[in-house]
Each structure stands twice: as structure tokens, then as C-alpha cells.
Symmetry: D2
Subunit: 137 residues, 4 copies
DNA sequence: TTTT
DNA sequence: TTTT
């Protein structure tokens, strides 16, 4: 069934990269997307949308994206729930990205030099456009 | 900034219609959208996405949509949070719809005869396509 | 780069199925999508959008879709051009579909009984959702 | 009915601004969007998509967008046709944009100094996000 | 008639 | 817990 999301926004933090027990990479981050007509008067100015990526996309995001960077995300909304350690059911709504496009050249920020592997733009000046199946394996 | 969602799915229940203190209509419902490739073996088969509508759209949804009905929703993802009655902050991610299209002729279900006002398809057989600004007033 | 189209509309004719010299199936049809706010007074009421599909999607569309049937199409805009038989360059803009969802149960119309293979809805009543890579091989 | 297009690409030329007899601004340009997986071997690398904008959006595009600039466009596909001066019917498929987002700071290029009014990014560094109804009046 |  |  149709379930399609397209976002442009900025990362609120560096992405977090993890591996599943079976060795699959997944990275998560939050995208801040400015609201179109916020008056600025006490109103919230942005939505903060949780993004999940898998596999090559996850690794590319972890390598190239950083806090504050602008990017476009294409994916679908996923809902899931789990029981937390207080026995309470927690409901999650998030976006599983199958395509992430970096919209800014990036110099790796000082805050995470160990992970960044430089600039996602190759010598010809064209940005990388990473894509991936979003099946959960 | 760009924040666009398009969904096709079925209502899990009848919509809930409310009015703000200032008299604006809002209706909420959950849309079940089948996942594209679920194996069916213990996997979840659908995502359950919370939808919010306002004004005319809210009233039209309350009048014409019912549990199980198929519709298309266009909107944006909104995040907000509030403190619940235990002093705990609750984070919400939902879709604010600015356009809802009914994809099935509907006979009002018996479960809510008082509110349904019949069939959203006028005499010429073309479905109604309701639209609305999604500004929070 | 981002190039995403989502449409809901009705076929203006039965799809046309063809095979490339290398044996790949492709089907084409036109989708009529009603304009949101047409006054009806001399204005055009719909856009007529040319759709191209490939492979399994092409064959499923040829088998199950018919003139007048409602469906949702997800894809990307493609432009190409060729020289016609008068030596004039013709520019084409069309939608290459990578996902087509049938939104109506369909009894095969009498006009094309040889090709239709019945109803795209299996016994459990859930519509088929066909998907395919949209790479031109 | 649902008809939604989202594109990210670069202008192939400066936009063309015109006014209708009744005084409404409209601007047109072509967006080059790179294809996701072009091998580069004789294949076309991009689609060239004709964009139409109206009113404030038209004027903002004419003022701030220039050849080569990156932007995001949200809109719908429109088809129309007319008879050309040789009595031949010409069919047009184009995107009517209702939202254009500039994705790069722009110094006005030398090629059109008279029209450019500088930088679409105000002092606070946030890009302008222009929006408009896309009704043809 | 095409952009980086 | 939030980005420019």
C-alpha cells in the first residue's frame, strides 16, 4: 500500500551507527524540518523527525552526515511498539529511509573526526546519492 | 522546508471529532497501511499511522469516513510533546492531513448512524476530494 | 537526485503491452486525474498523464487494469526525445511507474476478454500491490 | 484527485518571467534532475523537466533562481495542448509548482544583473521558502 | 535547446 | 534531548 515520505531538513546531532546481532548496519538520526509558516511567537519552528536507515545507506550516513547538515530523505512511515523496562508499552513512529541525498558539501566537524571520512562529494563535484532497499533483512 | 507524506490505507476505527475551545473542528483517526513485502510469518503486516485533520476536512472525515474504509491522505509529519499526568514527557509523531480522498463509496455503518450523513459521492458518481489549509489557525 | 511522482486516477483506455527486441515487457497507458478545483465552466477537468511500466509491473497492468479502472501510480518523470518520420524532433515527458496499486476490484471488461485474466484481488480480499525496479535494464 | 510531484534539480537556464494580459506573473524554467543509476556510457544522465510557476512564486524564482542553481520543487503534473502555427496539435506535459525551495545561497550571475536582486537568504541565514496557490486564477 |  |  502507498506510504511515501519526502523530507528536507537538518540533522540535530551526528548520526548514531549500530550493528544488529546478525551484523547489519543501521543508523539513526533526527531531522529538523522548518515549518512553513511559523510566526515565531512562541510557536514551535520545526518538526523533529526520527529517521532510521539500513545497510550501505546507514554507513554512508554515519560517514558523511553530521549535525547541522542539510539533506533530503525519501522513505516510509513505520510504526512499532515495545514494552519498556517499567512494563509500559511504548509506541514509536519513525521514518525508514530508502534514499538519502546530501545537499551540502561537508567538511567533517571536529566533534567526530574519528568517524568522518571526509567529503561525500567526489572530484567531479556531484553529490553522492545513496540508495538502499529498506527491507528489514 | 519540504515535509510531504502520501498514504493510502484503511481506517482502524471511526474518526473522532472534537472542537477546540475556540470552536475549530478537528478529527483524528488511525490509518492502517499494508507493508509492501511482509512475509506474513510473525511479522507485522501493516503500519498504524495517526492522522489529524482540521476544519472542513475534519468535518467531512467525521461525516463520511468509517472503520475499514479506504482513503488517500496527503499531509506532513508533525512532532509535538506534552507532559502527561504522571509528570512524564510524551513525544508524539503524527500526520497532519491537508487533503483526504475517499476511495470507496460508503454506506454508513450501523455502528454510528447518528453521525454519518450518507454517501460522499454526489449524483455524478465522482468522489469528493476535500482539501484544507493545515495551519493550526 | 530526487524525482518522485504519486498519482491517483483512472485509465482512459486499456493498457498497451509490447515487448522489446530483447524480450522485456513494457506497457503504456494514460491516467486521467481530476483537477482539484475545476469550475467546470469550459475548463479542462482532468490531466491526462502518460504512464510507462516495465517487466512484471507491465504484465500485471496489462492483465488486470482496464479502461476506467482507478489506480495509484508511484514513479518518476522521464523526458526523452526522438526524430519523427518528418525529421522533426519530438519531446516526450512521461511517468515511469515503479509501483502500481489497483484500487478497485475488476471484472474484466467485455472489450478485451482475451487478455484479462480475471480479478487482481486474491481470495483474502486484499488487493495486489505490484512493484518493480524501474531501471531501463 | 491525487497528483503530486517532488523534484530536486538544477536550472538549465535562467527563468523566463512573463505577465498574462490580465497582469499575472508566470515564470518558466527547466530543471535537470540527475538519474539515479546512469552508467554514463552513452546514456542520458538527467531528465529535463519543464516547470511553470505563478504569482509571487514566479517573481521570486525570476529574482533569485539562476542557471545551475539547485532547488526543490513541489507541484503537480499538468497536461495541455494547443494548435501550433502549422495547424498541428502540440501536447505539453509540465509541472506546475506550488512550492519552490532554494537549496543554495546565490550570488546573482553576471549574465543577468538587471533582474537579480541578490541573495534569497536573509540575514538570519535561513533560506526563503516560497509558496503559492497554483490555481490558474 | 540542457544543469553540477 | 533538538537544526540553520
Amino acid at each position: 500500500m502507498l506510504n511515501r515520505v519526502i523530507l528536507i531538513g537538518r540533522l540535530t546531532k551526528d548520526p548514531e551507527l549500530r550493528y544488529t546481532p546478525s551484523g547489519h548496519a543501521t543508523s539513526t538520526f533526527t531531522l529538523a524540518t522548518d515549518r512553513p509558516f511559523s510566526s515565531g511567537q512562541g510557536e514551535r519552528e520545526a518538526d523533529f523527525i526520527p529517521i532510521v536507515t539500513w545497510r550501505q545507506t546507514a554507513e554512508a550516513c554515519a560517514n558523511y552526515l553530521r549535525k547541522g547538515r542539510l539533506c533530503a530523505v525519501e522513505g516510509r512511515i513505520q510504526t512499532r511498539n515495545y514494552e519498556n523496562n517499567e512494563g509500559r508499552r511504548v509506541y514509536i513512529t519513525e521514518v525508514v529511509a530508502d534514499n538519502v541525498r546530501f545537499l551540502e558539501r561537508g567538511q567533517t566537524p571536529q566533534s567526530s573526526p574519528e568517524r568522518g571520512q571526509g567529503d561525500p562529494f567526489p572530484d567531479d563535484g556531484r553529490p553522492i546519492d545513496i540508495s538502499d532497499d529498506d527491507l528489514p533483512f
